[in-house]
């Protein structure tokens, strides 16, 4: 076995370098052990990088690199090996492999990439910035993504909140924008971010009032906003009450007799009531 260490484990360049070396040394997928970060440093096996070059590098279709970039963010420890197996098969002549949605390897990679894209999309949606106390216009958010996506989504927050100073903290990594540059750093704990924000009360008011009790459909809500995200969202504290009261509110609307207008309407005679 030969080992390939990818640091950090989600990094496309790091994986690409190792994969190219393994390909050039003609190391088959079965003979390479892929490790994330420094966990492999103590192992005695030979590294991929030490192996002699036996053939030319390989050019792969552009959609493979896009797929690889997403798959590398998946938390499954087998992702590096899966990508190398795909690369190997493409290099061995299956040039159109990625078009075969029914192939087991392609299917797994596609599913992992989808999971990463979904996690990324949900992070864009459910991160909540809280203003730092003390007059500064600075904001901090705490979030717990399922996959290693912080580096992947950080540029989105940079483009969106360019005029603010902000940080997003997660258990495995944090990222900061100072108005000019993005900085990545180590993981944090929840207590490092403010627990609430003065604006939350207005937001809850909006949330409670934009809800239409006559259309209660909590199954749909849970499908799109899974419960694991609720702890990040100030508005979800209201859910038990909103759901419990919905039936009563609708019954009251149904049972209420039509009322005469109480306001005077210009140009219309007031009907005696």
């Amino acid at each position: 076995m030969y080992r390939a260490t990818i640091t950090p484990g989600w990094d496309l360049e790091a994986w690409r370098t190792q994969a190219r070396r393994a390909w050039e040394a003609e190391l088959s997928p079965e003979s390479v052990e892929w490790l994330a970060d420094a966990q492999g440093e103590l192992l005695a096996s030979a590294t991929v990088a030490e192996q002699p070059v036996r053939r030319q590098g390989l050019s792969v279709p552009a959609d493979f690199m896009a797929l690889a970039a997403a798959v590398l963010c998946h938390r499954d420890a087998g992702r590096h090996a899966l990508l190398y197996r795909l690369l190997w098969r493409i290099g061995q002549g299956e040039r159109a492999l990625l078009g075969r949605a029914t192939d087991a390897d392609v299917q797994r990679a596609t599913r992992w990439a989808q999971a990463v894209r979904r996690d990324t999309h949900k992070m864009k949606a459910f991160v909540r910035f809280r203003q730092v106390q003390g007059g500064d216009d600075a904001y901090i958010a705490w979030f717990e993504p399922d996959h290693y996506i912080v580096d992947r989504v950080a540029p989105f927050f940079m483009r969106r909140f360019a005029g603010m100073r902000w940080a997003i903290l997660t258990p495995y990594r944090s990222v900061q924008w100072d108005g000019a540059q993005l900085w990545a750093g180590e993981g944090a704990v929840r207590a490092d971010a403010p627990a609430d924000d003065a604006e939350d009360a207005l937001w809850r008011t909006y949330y409670a009032n934009i809800f239409n009790p006559a259309r209660l459909n909590t199954r749909m809500m849970r499908q799109e906003m899974p419960q694991k995200y609720w702890k990040h969202l100030p508005e979800t504290h209201l859910l038990p009450d909103l759901v419990r009261e919905a039936g009563r509110r609708v019954r009251e609307m149904d049972e209420r007799e039509a009322q005469e207008p109480r306001r005077r309407i210009p140009g219309r005679p007031r009907t005696p009531g």
């Binding site: 459910f126 008011t205 934009i210 239409n212 459909n217 009322q259």
Partner: protein, 416 residues
């Protein structure tokens, strides 16, 4: 009145507008511009309320005072709901502070008509102007457009907003006359036509995209949309779909929203006693998708089926209903059929059709391949042929097939 109390009233008053879309504005960001905000084409839902609806935009009315008396509307002049009015600066403040906390993608601002159309439209435009110019806000803005507002105000609205919308409200002119006597159907259509012309003119054509030519001024890059209320008047599904189809064709609407008329506080006696089932709204959306993405025509979706009187089947979706009326068009061989026919197979969505077209170039498809695409096999298999599958006589008895495929009846009160 406190800001919080106004927000409660003016959000409550806005919730009957179904649209919350924040897509289609193209790419825009705030790097190096001194403000905040971005749009990247795809909309983002920042929360979901217990009605299962997405919260993407801060959707509020500037005021719920209104001089009109539309029977279906919670804000009609003769309703006794509490009234409030935001100052334009208050809407700007709420939008920016909510946006900074990543609660929203932007603003959807609508209003009751106060004084007259121009006065009201001026206020809406002022909010959008202040966001864009005073605060360099690059998030999404959707403005409700008042049909009788002057062309100068329309032009300004389109300059600041990503999307404009005018609600057609009811599918037929007769319905509008009956329930919204002060609204003017030809005026609404004329205003939609005006928006359509301006949106088209602002789209850079291929020639104009060349750097030397001056690009036309921006106008509502995310286009226009509209909304129809379902079940408040007597219009059947056929009338609704004919009307939507015309709106898509004439004005290139990005979306027609269907809003099942829902119980409102202080309802008018002119309204029907019972709300239509939400399932009817769902079937209309499915039919709308068939019109726009699956190559169906209205007359195919709502055919003269005895006993159905211009209504969509509530038990099964409109594509399955079509297939059961046309068993002679099936089975479809997934390995050889053209894309247009794949799109007509019940249970096959546009994305899986694409996957099938891609996959079958590399080898003939079997049932196991379809299972890997996570296609609903139970629904699909009676209608398709694969290398190792043929439905045999299942298509000979559509009534029985329908019984097999219709979902078990759910509790009646689930859909109201």
């Amino acid at each position: 009145m406190q800001l919080k109390d106004k927000l409660a009233i003016l959000a409550d008053a806005a919730k009957y507008d179904a649209s919350c879309a924040s897509s289609g504005a193209g790419k825009r960001h705030s790097l190096g511009k001194g403000g905040i905000g971005s749009t990247e084409g795809m909309g983002i839902c920042h929360s979901y309320t217990p009605d299962g609806r997405c919260v993407s935009l801060l959707k509020i009315l500037l005021t719920n005072f209104c001089i009109y008396d539309c029977a279906y509307c919670v804000n009609r002049v003769s309703s006794n709901v509490p009234r409030a009015r935001f100052a334009t600066a208050e809407v700007v403040r709420l939008t920016l502070e909510f946006y900074k906390r990543n609660y929203i993608e932007g603003l959807f601002l609508s209003s009751g008509i106060i004084r007259n159309g121009d006065y009201t439209m001026e206020q809406l435009v002022e909010v959008a102007r202040s966001l864009r110019e005073d605060h360099r806000f690059a998030g999404y803005i959707h403005l409700k457009t008042i049909p009788e507002a002057s062309p100068e105000l329309l032009a300004a609205a389109g300059r600041y907003a990503d999307r404009l919308s005018i609600n057609v409200e009811l599918p037929t002119e007769a319905g509008l006359k009956q329930l919204a006597p002060q609204k003017d159907a030809p005026g609404i259509r004329a205003a939609m036509g005006e928006l359509h012309t301006r949106i088209l003119a602002a789209k850079p054509s291929r020639q104009e995209a060349q750097p030397k030519r001056r690009r036309p001024p921006k106008f509502a890059p995310a286009g226009q949309s509209t909304q129809m209320i379902v079940g408040a008047d007597a219009a059947d599904d056929r009338a609704i779909l004919v009307s939507s189809d015309a709106l898509y064709r004439q004005f290139r609407m990005r979306r027609v929203y269907y809003s099942a008329f829902s119980p409102i506080p202080d309802a008018s006696t002119q309204l029907p006693l019972r709300a239509p089932p939400l399932l009817r709204e769902h079937r209309l959306y499915q039919a709308d998708w068939l019109l726009r993405f699956y190559g169906f025509e209205v007359k195919e979706i709502v055919e003269d089926v005895p006993g159905q009187g211009g209504m969509l089947d509530l038990d099964i979706d409109p594509k399955l209903a079509w297939a059961l009326r046309h068993p002679d068009r099936f089975p479809v061989d997934l390995n050889t059929a053209p894309r247009e026919m794949l799109l007509r197979v019940p249970g096959l969505g546009a994305r899986n059709v694409q996957r099938i077209v891609d996959s079958r170039r590399q080898g003939r498809l079997r049932v196991a391949d379809l299972a890997r695409l996570r296609a609903p096999l139970q629904k699909l298999l009676p209608f398709v042929v694969l290398l190792d599958h043929h439905p045999r006589q299942r298509l000979d008895d559509p009534a029985r097939l329908r019984r097999d495929l219709a979902p078990a009846p759910r509790q009646a009160d689930l859909f109201g």
